[in-house]
Each structure stands twice: as C-alpha cells, then as structure tokens.
C-alpha cells in the first residue's frame, strides 16, 4: 500500500515557555525548539506498521521551508521511505485551505492509496485533513484510533467519540484519515538514526514545479487571517485544604462530588 503522511513541524509545547511577543500578534519565536507535531508522529508510526504488515511504502510530506527538513529526516529515520518538502515563498501565510490546496496538487501528481494526517497540529485548527479529502473528493474519517486493512480496497477503522467510546466504520480506499494519538506507541528516533539519513536527498517542490497558481494560495488567498494572540489571565489560586490527611480526604471527596465529579 502506498501511504502518504502529511506532517508538520511545530514548536514543542513541552520544551518551550510560550510567551507573546511585544506586539502581541505572535508568540516569541527566539529560543523555541521545534519537533514534529505529535499527532503526525502517530500517523507515521501507523503507516509504518501497516506497511510492515502488508507491504508498500511510506512517504512523508510537509509544506514549509528548509528548517522543516528536520522533521522529514526524523520521520525517515523512523522508517519512512521518502520525505518530500514543498516549499515556496508564495505559500507563506496560507490558511488551512491554502495548505490543503497545495497538498492536493502534490497528491494528484502521485498515486497514494491512503493519506494520513494528524487530527490537529499543536498550533493548528484541525482543518487540513477534512479540506484535503473534500478537495480530492476522497472519503474522510477523523479521530481514527484503530485501523485494520480489509480485502477489497477497504479499511475497518474506529473513531474516537466523546466519552472514550469507539465508533467502528468501514471506509473505501483511497481515503484520507486523521489519526488520533494513542492509536499506537510511536518508536523512538535517536540522533544516530537521524544522522544515518542525513545525506539522503529530499526532493523539493515549489509552486511552479507543482503547477500551482500562486494567487490561489499564500497570504493573498487566505480567507482566514490571524489577527491576534491571546493568553488567558491566570484564574484564582487553587483552594487549599487544611487539616489532617483524613479530614482533607473527606473534604476533597465532598468537593469533587459537589462539582459532579463523582457519581
């Protein structure tokens, strides 16, 4: 099976202290460290596991710039067969539809049976997967947390629904799925693995090589624009319980029950 995973490089929330810049319209980007978007990493792992079971190749694609090569290399070190970078200054400022348009054009140049995205990006809005499926006119399932390949070009998938329940679906290939975390346990990628793929060439496409009209993407075409960043003010401090351990436990149970946390 030919699988394409759309991945993205994001500031790592666990290793950064996110703060607004002085203008208040973006986060402070000096000193940030980046990593692959967590959901995308699960998607790559899932793709690798499918290929390990039934054969095929895994390609990881990202829309970004030269810095974003690092996540492609990381996923290649994980086992992805190919990494593809789509990069053009004309793409800067694209909204989700712009990104989906770029990806659609790339996908239509190849043959992929299955396209995976993460459910959302850490700094995104969970939009690209669905839009991409619509643009390609492929079936789409979101929040996929288990996946099984059936005979006859079908997948059996389960989707996470509220309350931890699962909904089981059958979906025709080719399709687009957005992958939820927890679907698997992504393998570890160390520096050694990344170094081993350091010299593997990564094909790069731009607007002209993909045949994209710059007026359909980028800032000019974006119909959703970021106007501000907002950091919520800290709420009031936690309620401190005072007393012996037993008293505190009783009070805590009472409080949690009062707020509907215990049934």
């Amino acid at each position: 099976m030919e699988i394409l995973v759309c991945a993205r490089r994001v500031p790592d929330t666990s290793e950064n202290e996110i703060a607004l810049n002085s203008a208040g319209n973006d986060i402070e980007r000096d000193d940030l460290v980046y990593s692959i978007n967590e959901w995308d990493n699960y998607a790559v792992e899932e793709a690798l596991q499918i290929v390990a079971r039934i054969g095929g190749t895994v390609t990881v694609v990202t829309v970004g710039n030269d810095d974003d090569e690092e996540v492609l290399r990381r996923e290649m070190a994980m086992g992805a067969n190919h990494g593809v970078l789509i990069s053009d200054p004309a793409f800067d400022g694209s909204d989700a539809k712009g990104i989906a348009t770029i990806l659609k054009t790339f996908i239509q140049k190849g043959r992929y049976d299955l396209i995976l995205t993460g459910v959302q990006a850490e700094d995104g809005g969970a939009q690209v997967g669905g839009m991409l499926a619509a643009l390609l006119d492929y079936p789409f399932a979101s929040l996929v947390n288990s996946l099984e390949v059936l005979d006859g070009g079908k997948l059996k998938i389960s989707r996470e629904i509220e309350g931890g329940n699962k909904e089981i679906n059958e979906i025709d290939l080719p399709c687009v799925l957005s992958i939820q975390t927890g679907i698997n346990e992504p393998r570890y990628v160390g520096m050694r693995g990344i170094r081993q793929v350091a010299s593997v060439p990564i094909p790069t496409f731009n607007a002209s090589s993909l045949g994209i009209d710059p007026s359909n993407v980028g800032e000019a075409a974006a119909r959703v624009k970021r106007v501000d960043y907002f950091v919520p003010a800290l709420g009031k401090g936690a309620q401190m319980l005072e007393g012996s351990r037993e008293e505190n436990i009783d009070k805590l149970v009472e409080l949690v029950a009062a707020k509907g946390g215990l049934k």
Binding site: D12, E15, N16, R187, G190, M191, R192
Partner: protein, 718 residues
C-alpha cells in the same frame, strides 16, 4: 574375573591387568571433555570482541584475591565458609587426583616433592581435605533440602527449581570423595594385612574411618574394593568433568579465566564496540546486543561461569521490589539459550532476538545500574555492561518506553530531560536573598575561575534540588574556592543517557560539555551530583580532575577550614545513605561519614545495608521518568531500613537520592517522623561562618515547602 586381580601382592601389578580399561576411560573422558569444551568455545568465537588482555599483573593479583583467596565468599558467612572449604579441598585434591591419574602408568609414581616426610604430611592433608569436602557436601545438601535459603528459590516464571540438579552434583562430588577415601583406606588396610609397612592415615578422617571399618575384611575383598574404588573414582571424575559444562558447575573450570579477564575499572561502561572508535560509530550497522552473538566473548564466559548462588538477585533492589528483573536469571536464561542454540551434538541455531525472546523489555529497563549484583558476585560476573548493551539494542530499534521518549527528546533539543530553557540553567543562583550573599560566577568567557562547579540538570532546574546547589556554592565560597559555573553552556552530563543506552545522544552532550569545560579555563571540577561525578570521571576524556563535594568538605574539615556548630536537636538520629555512584562505583564511603562525625553532638547510626551493600533509592536521571512494574518503591524500602536502624534523619549526597527518598518518606507515611537532608545542606546549615555576621543569618533554603518539577511517576504519561 575380578578374582584374578587380588593374587599379586603389589598393587601396581594387578592394576596393569586393567590397564586397557583405565586407559580407555582416560582417553574417552579427556576426549569427551575436550570436545564439549571446544563446542562451548564456538559462541565465544562468534561473539563480539572484548579487550581484556591488558594489565596482566593486576589481573593476576585479582586472581590471587578473588579466585585463590575467595575474597567475596565470606560476605555470605555460612555458604561462603562452606565454599572456601570445598575450594581448598579441591585444590589439595587436584594434586592427589593427578597422582591417582598417573598411578596406572607406574606403581610408584609420586609427584615430585611428595615423597618422604613432606609426602606423609601431604597425605594427611589430603585425607582431611577429602573428609572436609565430603562433609561440606552433606551440609550443602542439607541446606538445599532442609533450610532452603530463599535466594536459591526459582521465582514463578523463571522455570523449574534447580534443587535436583544441585543435589545431583553434590552427590557426585560426595561419591568422588568417598571413592577417593575408600581407595586410600583399602590400600592401607590391605598392605597392613600383608604385613607391609604403611603410613598412618589421618585420625578421624574419612579414609581413617573407612580403614577401621575394613580392618577385618579379607584380603581378596579388600583388593576388589580397592579396584572398585579406583574405578568408581575414575568414572565419577570423568562423568563430572564432562557433565559440568552443562550446568552451574562449569565454574570449576571457567572461574579462573572469568576472574582473570574480569572488568578492572569500576564506574566505566564498555564502548559500543571495542574495535570501533567514537568517530567511526556512525558506520556501525547495529548498536548494542540484539542477538546472543552480539554479546562479547567475556560476557558469554560470564554466563558459563555463573554458579547460580543467587547472591546478585538477593542484593538487587529491582528484584527486591518485585520488578521483573533478576540478575541471576539474566545470566541463567542466557546460558540456557546458549546451550540450546549451540548444542554439544548438532549444529548451532540461527540467532534470534533476545528481547521478546528470553528477555522482556521491562526486564531490561528495570535496572538502576546500582551495581549491587556485581559487588556481590564471587565470580566477578558483570551485569551493567550487558544491561546497557541490551538497551543500546532496544534504542537502536526504536523500542523505547513512551515515558522515556519525551525526556530523551528534550535532552536532544534542550540539553536537559525536563525540556527547560537553557538560559534558565543558572537561575538557581539568582535567587534574591542568595545572590546578595553568594555571587556565583558564570564562566562565559568574561569571568574566569580555577574551579568549575558542574551543577547538572536536576540541581539546576528542580526547585527542591536547587537548595543543594546553593548549599554547595556557599560551602565553596566559605572555603575560599575561586569557582564558577557554566550556566547556559552546561548540558546534562549524560550519565543516565549513556546508561539507558542512548550512546549517540550521550556523545553529543559530552562533546558539548567538554568543549564548554575546556573553554572555561577551569583547572578542576567539583560537583555535588554523584552521577555527574561518575560521568566526568569515567565517561569524559580531556577534562580537568573532578571531585565530589563530600571529598572537598572532608578535606577542608581536616584542614580546619570548616568547623561546625553542635547539632541542636538532641532527638535527631542521623544515618548516611550511600549513593550508588558515590559509594559502590567510586568507593567514596568514608569522606561523607567523616564529615558527619566531625559535627559535634551528631548521633549517627548505620543501616544494615550500608557502604558497598547500600540499597539503591530507586535510581537517578531518566529512571525518574521510567514507570516500572513493581510492587513497592525502592525508596520506601530504603526509608524503612533507616527507620529500622533507629534513624530519623537520612543524610545523602545525591540529588536523585533526595528526590526518591523524600518521595518515599511520604509514600511510607513517615512524614513528620523522618526527614532527608543532603550532606551539603547539612554542612551549610551547621558550619561556623567566621567573618561576616550577615552571612550566617542565611541558613540553607528551607527545603520541605518547595515544589519539585519531578512529578510523581503516576502523573506522567497518563
């Protein structure tokens, strides 16, 4: 047909009639043994290289100490003494065995120097040796069958009990001793009946008792007994010789080599490959141990040499708290694998993956590398290098627990496992009331110092442990040290990164630090973290000499530069917990104790498990992130040991011990009755500040209220 053998009076002559049979047994026995040993050598030859051929004199010295001197044995009094007696008996009897072996060649064969008076003395000694070994077999069998020491038990999941095999071997040795004694007894009794001059047998020895029992036996029967005893001895001897390479008694042959080739340098780790330098490691296709043949030949020799005594697991903290790791079975399982895949008859099987086969992931990740197993092993079997090599293999395959992936990733991008910003590395030294009294220089090129204080991640970033950093700085300040820190340029020492098998990441951290340390211009390094201490001392090259703060304090106490106020709290009873990487791995046991004993009025007790038998608190570095399967926390066991010893203050000298022990005090429900303090904090609290009165009003940070960045393990990864 035996009857024909008693007629000749001279023993040598009747033996000659059996020459062919004896020769056949000899030839068969030696050939079988040679063949089996050759087969056992096959995996060693296929294994990875291991450089163990240096320092022959040191190695010989260790053979004298640990092999001939049986140095580690008395650590287990009963079993140890029994073993020493058996070992001594074997050595004595080995010579006798030779004389018996060659007896067939010539009736009057005597080992050089074993004739005359010395010969008589030697005979008496061998009589007693056989007797002692025989009785040791009886005692050992009784222990196995009646007293059943817990450490011999085979826990569920590790196969069937080894008692039958053990008893079988004990019986064989006992038979050998009886045959030996019976031969001597029947010879003397026969000669005596014939009126020939005989040497006296050692009074109350086995041959003496048997001779007395045979006194009235007829001469022909005596010669038959003698012949039978000789035959029995020979057959048993060769059976044992050829049977030993199939089980725990192979150590009789291998121990000498295992001790000679044992690892010499504590605290170090083996390189990924002995024959590949760091620069060329990228070209190595696979890291670590994945299949059996990835072990080094010495590690396979370890597997052969294990005597299944159970001392390693008896001391293993992971085993004690119910983690799925038993060092004993790490070895036994590998040996079983080796015997199965390299059979004596038939061809070697294909190498299969060890983890997922004989080992589980959890087993490999459960080890804290505390070194208690290696400290205890009488045969100097190594474990840490094997565990680390297995982890290297897992890391190489991407098979890493999710709980460890985040900290490893953070170490890669931020240089610390917590994902904290590099620029905040020195914030501990900028606390307002601290900075006003103690200015910690940052050696960033603008400022210079002789001494570098290497702080490391946990002390830099964890609110609670920062107090240890500030106390260390105050002590260095107090003794007039010209010191500074690297600040943002300092990365994690990588000590645990390396011990968790991430060699490439470790190398990156190390190279960065070495460069920063060299650029600082410092001529010596001090650290308060035994893990950094061990890394800087053993894992790093081309850095200045390093000392742990306890060594510095001990020296300054002796020099009179550090003096202490008496302990005010009369009810406080202190006990010192030896951190593994200060104690066992670096042999620093006395300095911290000397410092404590220099504090007037300080009452100190020792825990049962102390010094080289110290019990690991739960492990440092990445082990704080790992979520083991266990029944109990190691730290909880440790604080209970402190309580048993009658202590209510645990002094340690390692930030990771502090994290684990403070946690454990809460979990054990000993809050309010037990506290923990770092040696540096205690010294900082008690030392008399001479000059400036304003300084002494700044006690060490009160530690208990501060929050820790170390979330309880249960909260991580949920």
């Amino acid at each position: 047909m035996l009857e024909s053998t008693y007629i000749p009076a001279q023993a040598g002559r009747w033996l000659s009639q059996w020459q062919i049979l004896f020769l056949t047994i000899h030839a068969l026995g030696i050939a079988c043994f040679g063949y089996i040993v050759a087969k056992r050598m096959v995996p060693l030859l296929r294994a990875e290289r291991d450089f163990r051929f240096d320092q022959p004199l040191v190695r010989l010295g260790r053979v004298l100490q640990f092999w001939l001197g049986q140095w580690k044995h008395p650590r287990y009094r009963t079993a140890g003494v029994i073993h020493i007696v058996i070992f001594a008996g074997f050595i004595v009897l080995a010579c006798r065995a030779f004389s018996l072996l060659f007896f067939k060649i010539s009736g009057d064969f005597l080992m050089p120097g074993f004739s005359g008076t010395t010969g008589n003395i030697y005979d008496v000694i061998t009589d007693y040796a056989a007797t002692m070994v025989f009785f040791c077999m009886v005692i050992a069998a009784t222990r196995r069958l009646v007293f059943k020491p817990a450490r011999y038990a085979v826990p569920p999941g590790y196969g069937k009990a080894h008692t039958v095999d053990a008893i079988f071997l004990l019986v064989l040795i006992a038979v050998l001793m009886v045959a030996d004694s019976l031969f001597a007894a029947s010879t003397v009794a026969g000669r005596f009946q014939q009126g020939e001059p005989v040497e006296a047998l050692a009074v109350l020895s086995l041959p003496w008792i048997l001779k007395s029992a045979l006194a009235s036996t007829s001469l022909p029967t005596l010669w038959n007994i003698r012949l039978g005893a000789y035959l029995l001895h020979q057959v048993t001897f060769y059976f044992l010789l050829c049977y030993r390479p199939f089980g725990i008694q192979f150590h009789v042959e291998t121990s000498l080599f295992n001790v000679y080739f044992a690892k010499l340098n504590r605290g170090t780790l083996k390189p990924v490959r002995w024959d590949v330098s760091d620069e060329h490691l990228d070209q190595v296709e696979s890291f670590g141990v994945k299949t059996f043949e990835d072990f080094t030949w010495k590690h396979i020799l370890d597997f052969y040499s294990c005597a299944d005594c159970g001392r390693c697991s008896d001391n293993c903290p992971s085993h004690a708290v119910g983690r799925p790791l038993s060092p004993r079975f790490l070895t036994i399982k590998a040996r079983d694998y080796s015997f199965k895949h390299y059979p004596v008859l038939g061809n070697a099987g294909n190498g299969t993956a060890l983890v997922g086969g004989i080992y589980s992931d959890d087993e490999v990740w459960s080890c804290t590398t505390c070194g208690a197993c290696e400290e205890e092993c009488p045969l100097l079997v190594e474990y840490i290098d094997k565990i680390v090599d297995l982890r290297r293999g897992l890391i190489d395959d991407g098979n890493v627990p999710q709980s460890l992936q985040k900290p490893l990733k953070a170490l890669e991008s931020r240089g610390n496992p917590y994902g904290k910003m590099e620029k905040k590395k020195a914030e501990w030294a900028k606390a307002k009331d601290f900075q006003s009294t103690c200015d910690v220089k940052i050696l960033d090129g603008n400022r210079q110092a002789d001494t570098l204080y290497f702080v490391d991640s946990i002390t830099s970033y964890d609110d609670r442990m920062q107090s240890i950093g500030r106390s260390t700085a105050r002590i260095l300040d107090h003794v007039g040290e010209n010191y500074g820190i690297l600040g943002a340029a300092e990365r994690d020492s990588g000590h645990e990164v390396r011990r968790f098998g991430e060699e490439t990441l470790f190398m990156a951290l190390r190279d960065h630090n070495v460069e920063a340390i060299q650029a600082s211009g410092a001529r010596r390094i001090v650290t308060a973290d035994p893990h950094s201490y061990n890394a800087l001392k053993h894992d790093y090259k081309d850095v200045p000499p390093v000392e742990h703060i306890s060594q510095v304090i001990a020296r300054e106490v002796k020099a009179g530069k550090v003096k202490f106020n008496p302990v005010e709290n009369q009810t406080a009873v202190y006990t010192y917990h030896d951190p593994c990487y200060l104690g066992r791995h670096n042999q620093i046991y006395d300095d911290p104790r000397d410092v404590l004993d220099a504090i007037p009025g300080l009452k100190r007790v020792e825990m049962k498990r102390s010094r080289d038998r110290s019990f690991c608190c739960g492990g440092g570095g990445l082990m704080l992130f790992y979520e083991p399967k266990e029944d109990q926390r190691m730290g909880v066991k440790r604080v209970q040991m402190a309580a048993e010893a009658g202590a209510n203050v645990i002094v340690t000298a390692c930030p990771f011990c502090m994290a684990n022990i403070e946690d454990a005090i809460k979990v054990a429900g000993l809050e309010g009755r037990m506290t923990a303090i770092d040696l540096a904090e205690l010294v900082d609290q008690q030392m008399i500040r001479q000059v400036c009165a304003t300084v002494s009003v700044n006690p060490p940070d009160r530690v208990a209220q501060q929050e820790s960045i170390l979330e309880p393990k249960t909260a991580i990864g949920g």
